[in-house]
Amino acid sequence: MTRFSFLLRRPFELIPVLIGISLISFVLLQLTPGDPARLLLGPKASEEAIALIRQRYGLDQPLFVQYYYYIKNVLGGDFGQSMSFRSAIGPVLLERIGPTLYILVYGLFLSVLLTLLLGVLAARSRGRWLDQTIRVICVVGVGVPSYFVGLLLILVLSLNFGLFPVSGYADSFVANLHHLFLPALTIAISVTPILTRNFRATLLQQMNAGYAVAALSKGVPENKVFWRHVFWNSLLPTVSLFGVVASFLIGGTVVIENVFNIPGLGLLLVRSVLSRDYLVVQGVTLVMASGIVISNLIIDIVVAALDPRVKT
């Protein structure tokens, strides 16, 4: 009966969601135009090879049997063959996860930093010019497309001042801290307005909460009331908001990778759509959906660590 015992149960509760995700992916695959066997083998395949594939993937069988094969293959890491890469999709995906994960985590880190800073600054100077400025930036910021921000950053920092590379991916972790700073910053800029707005509003609301007034009445200095009580209580709703933001972030990497030409899943996704490499599109979609499921699990852990009331 510890606070975290529910986390052991959590993975089992995810099974229905995972089944649902695989079902939707399967349905999307069914809806793709053309013969799936030909999709797998490419347009130049022989009739015998196609017949063989039909049998192997059960494509001549009823739909639920096909679904069974689909699941079996995916669980075994077999996402089929890519037309444009002329190789198995599994390893291609694996290779592309690294860069995507890098800019995701890097961008997340920067956005958390920015959100905490701006949110606290705004709330503590409530109503004054600093607060108003941050508020306006947040309202404007929601509507600025991330690819435009990326291009502006390239224009100013890379082309004009030559501070950062325009595109690509370096080969070491440390080098990428510099190399991928602009893409990460772009991601951070795209989610920070929403997070900051929410965090500021929560901070303001919690600053007037009963427990904060009670702490003041005990003679706890205002500064300490803020950092020991208000701040931690305000983190909770903002952390929960990350469930929505995670989806936003992963979508954001697709755009950013294309702006900065980073060889990650997003670049792969868009290229595959344009070259009608449907199986790769399915593979990327599935991987990214699993990413959301995992990130929700992480959010649950963080919330449980922050909030003793969680006992689901």
Binding site: R9, F12, E13, R126, N208, A209, G210, Y211, V213, A214, A215, L216, S217, K218, G219, V220, P221, E222, K224, R228, H229, W232, N233, L236, L306, D307, P308, R309
Partner: protein
Amino acid sequence: MKNTLVSVEDLTISFDTTQGAVDAVKGVSFTIKRGEALGIVGESGSGKSVVCRALLQLFAPNAKVKRGKILHEGKDVLTMSATDLNAYRGEKAAMIFQNPSTHLDPIMMVGDQVAEGLMIHRKLDRAAATKQAVSLLEDMKILDAPRRAKAYSHELSGGMRQRVMIAAALACSPGLLIADEPTTALDVTVQAQILALICKIRQERHLTLVLVSHDLGVIGEMCDRIIVMKDGQIVETGTTEQILTAPQADYTKNLIRSQPSLLPGREEHAVSDKADIVSVKGVSVLFPAPRKLADIIGRKPGHVVRAVDEVSLSVRRGGSLGIVGESGSGKSTLARVLVGLLKPSAGTVKIEGLDQGKDRARVIQMAFQDPYLSLNPSYTIAQTLSEPFKAHRLCPLSEVPARLKALMRTVELPEELLTRKSGQLSGGQRQRVGIARALAMSPDILIADEVTSALDVSIQAQILELFKRLQQELDLTLILISHDLAVVRYLCEDVAVMRHGKLLEYGRSAEVLRNPQTEYTQALLKAVPRLIESKAGNTRP
């Protein structure tokens, strides 16, 4: 003036609102004597809470002190430096609040919250402060204090939370304790325990107490001197005996008259002699607790909450029954079964007329508790009241306006209100509209579910009077759900006491209240503060 601890001089506080600046406190002056217990009583909007918070310089962000001083031992609290203020708060004066569940930090262990003041004012290290916090919790009669100190606020009961808050306030032995409605959010039986605790601690520690409450009963029982406030001004000041026995201002007189514990009991002989219109036999309502997926897979049986547990009772036509209990007693669930919102899991409900195929809505109607949620916010009052006529075609459309006017007269509301929306009405007015809506169906039975619990006492007294009149004029059968025995005694010939879903006691109200059979009913009765008896020697009617 050695005797004076605090003197408040010409205090005026205004609030910035969307309608411009509004003065919440207007030129208030009074003194607090060392060692006394001072009560400040008033209804909502009287400014009593604003005044008591000002004593610690606690203000809402939109509040502004326009003028005035608050001198504590000669020093003005309102102009103190931040350092002096922090030393004053907690060491000289401290405060406990109305709602202990929102005034404790939900994510910090309660022991740490008690220790917090000690670490700041006494510069104790964590271990020493925690040790002292545990002993403070023990002083507050919290059993198993070392373990409780490590609990979080949501793991404690309401009464326990209030004890924690008192311990935290008294940690650095302030001489002045300010209590803002300390028992309003608690059940009556717990309320009595907390008041007793405050009394005891006050004597042990020679505290000066300022008690703020809407409840004259609580104030009368606890305080030596009373200040009566209304609309941001002091109406009257005097010793408790003066105020309670010889009030000067009309407002005070009315306030005392409106006290539920001072309402007269129903005449004992006026009892309906007609046949039963409602009879409830062995009714139970079970709510399955939500089951977790793991439990369903593991085939563990789900938990069941017995909200109502084999209750049998009846009401005579034209009679009145009061169902009394604290929160969680099942009284509201039972009411919902009667009006057909819930189906009983076991037992039978027989309502005269329903078996002859009469529409339930025309036989039994209900008025609801929350004046803010009981009316559709997007409707005007006319729309709300005309809907029953239109939906059930109770009368030709051309007659509806006349019917609405008649209804408004019945519940004593001016016709002009018909064009307003519920947001523009006061709480009492909204409750009257809710009653009028129920009466539109001309029901035989009216259930009133805690209709007055969210209202000020003077408004409550008016609504209760309305019920009394309606019952006589319209020959209504009344079922009153309330947590307040005094209210029930005023209106009802029969009373049913419920606890944890079970019917504990049931009979003529005069009989039950005079001679309660169960300990619980005795405790309920004892818990109702009865100022006049104890302080002024008045006997209850």
